[in-house]
Amino acid sequence: MTRTFEEVAGGELDALYQGALFLSGGNPDGAERLLVESISLAFRDHTGDRDPEGVQKWLEARLVRSFLRDVQDGPRDLPEETARRVTPDPGTFEALGPDELFSAAATLPAWPRAALWLVLLRRWSYADAASVMGLDEASVEGLLGYRDALLREMLSSSRDGRMGWGAT
């Protein structure tokens, strides 16, 4: 039985909202705007039923495209300072929550934020992420270098560094 678009989108709404929160740097109003806009646009492109994984990726792609359309600025190259590595102690992440993750995302430029969300958090391949973002794979790989900056910000937002992160 073919599902309506409302059924398709409804099943993905919670997960997409968390993605929108990451992309919006934890701003609920921004996340809501982004979600409404991307789902409305997806509705217009919707042509029929897809397998669950296909639907998920299709909607995630629209979320990122909506986000990047609104945020055309920001660097796409990796600043040298992000190459500084961090090393977490075991168990560090268990003590952190989504708020630290989303706040840390807010400190990153838009493009690396989108790349990190697709590849690191949603497990997209480099090639698929590059295609959605309109970049080449090497550029996506460069943007992923911001991962250390993300981790470092999570460390700093977890109060005085007591979580045991250390720069090496």
Partner: protein
């Protein structure tokens, strides 16, 4: 021991995403060997796994009800617009008239009698408290619900409770079981929009009489036992309405059954 940076990047890219099964060719075997021997890559994947676990925990959190409502309102508008002749339909005097719109909806969808909707609306406007005799309620409320139904396809015809559970979970993000009561047959479930709130109506039949069970998510709803509405108490000849609440969900039961039976059904529903 840290490998050189090119090997690290190449190995990580070649094994990405790490959970995905892949054919083990020479390159994959080499990348795996590199990761096994490289402390930095080993740490990288350990951090990656922990970061993913953190995000996956966040992904399981439900979106706020207001967000869900706004998304579905936007979809209703988008569906309306893509039907092509929005202008024609809006300028149609038949649809401009609230009464006509409601009548049209009832004809088209064969829903419960309008009186039932009006009674429920009154209860909603009165915030599930005593009715305000003679109070006017906003006719736009009916138009809104009409539009929602006219442009959406948010209903299922089924006698399978599990299907209704899935439908409500998907549409409203709530896990709610239809009421099980002897002689009460599940007919269908629909999405409704009352006072800007997206909810659901589950329809049952008992001896040929339709009974509607309304569920309206409200963040501030606290558990309350079923009770006849003030309106029904004031005028027993009115169609009876029983209201109650479970945490975060206001509920109402409306139907042309006697009040005692309605209360009994609601009681079974509230204790499920």
């Amino acid at each position: 021991m840290g490998g050189d940076i090119v090997d690290c990047l190449k190995a990580r890219a070649g094994l990405w995403p790490p959970e995905r099964p892949r054919l083990v060719g020479d390159e994959v075997a080499a990348a795996r060997k590199h990761v096994r021997d490289c402390r930095e890559c080993d740490e990288y994947f350990a951090q990656d796994r922990a970061l993913l676990d953190l995000y996956d925990r966040a992904r399981r959190a439900p979106a706020p009800l207001t967000v869900r409502e706004r998304v579905f309102d936007a979809l209703a508008r988008a569906r309306w617009e893509t039907q092509g002749d929005e202008h024609t339909q809006r300028s149609n005097p038949q649809l401009r008239s609230t009464a006509e719109a409601v009548r049209h909806r009832l004809l088209r969808f064969g829903a419960l009698p309008m009186a039932m909707a009006a009674v429920l609306a009154l209860v909603l406007v009165g915030d599930f408290g005593p009715t305000r005799d003679g109070a006017e309620y906003d006719p736009d409320m009916f138009v809104e619900d009409y539009l929602r139904r006219a442009v959406g396809q948010d209903h299922i015809e089924t006698s399978d409770p599990a299907e209704v559970v899935r439908f409500l979970q998907r549409e409203l993000g709530l896990r709610i079981e239809p009421i099980r009561s002897a002689g009460l047959d599940l007919q269908r479930a629909e999405i409704c929009l009352l006072e800007g709130r997206r909810g659901a109506m589950i329809v049952y039949k008992q001896n040929g009489t339709e009974v509607a069970h309304y569920l309206i998510p409200r963040e501030d709803a606290e558990a309350r036992v079923p009770a006849l509405s003030g309106r029904t108490q004031l005028d027993p000849s009115d169609m009876p309405v029983v209201t109650w609440a479970t945490p975060r969900v206001e509920q109402a039961l409306v139907g042309e059954l006697d009040s005692e039976r309605l209360l009994q059904i609601a009681g079974q529903g509230s204790s499920q």
